[in-house]
Amino acid sequence: MKIFFLFVLITITLLIAVYLFRVIRGPTVFDRVLGLNGISTKAIILLVVIGTVYERVDMFVDISTGYALVNLVGSLAIAKYLEERGKSFDVSA
């Protein structure tokens, strides 16, 4: 079973690399924000899987809950900022 969870961990990490490509590549700033959002969702899943591997789910679930909330506040702040900023600047690059 442990090998299966290691397989899950490695797969999700590789998928994060795909999202990282989108974050680096762009082309618009919103693509980067979307990519970061996808990465943080996968990080939350990853934390729960790590908790299952180490059999300390109770602790890792707390961490991932906190991460989800921090991610919400951060993403909303970035989206709000870009919404105001985009009215006067060109954000397409």
């Binding site: 079973m1 299966f4 899950v8 797969t11 999700i12 998928l15 795909v18 999202y19 490509f21 989108r22 618009t28 919103f30 693509d31 924000v33 979307l34 990519g35 959002n37 996808g38 969702t41 996968k42 939350i44 899943i45 729960v48 899987v49 299952t52 789910v57 109770d58 679930v61 707390d62 991932s64 809950t65 989800a68 909330l69 991610n71 919400l72 993403s75 909303l76 989206a79 709000k80 870009l82 919404e83 985009g86 009215k87 954000v91 397409s92």
Partner: protein, 99 residues
Amino acid sequence: MSWVALGLILVGLFFLFVAAVGVLRLPDVFTRSHAVSLTDSLGAFFVLGGLALYQGFSTNLFKILIVLVLLLLLNPVISHATVRAAFRCGLKPWSKEDA
């Protein structure tokens, strides 16, 4: 029980993979956000659901369900905010004629 959990996790991994392919392939922000929201709702649902089943009936199951409900509530808010910002900045959505 644990075989069902294993199957659910594999289905979730499939959806996560599809979403990653979509993020690479799709042409613009709006369509890509569909792919990301697909991951958020389906991939997270199946993987976390499988992990919750794997725990058996305990408090850990409900704790994982809290994370799952939190994700299902908060992720639509985030993707809505991002797409709305893109829309209000006047980004042109890709349409079939552009291809």
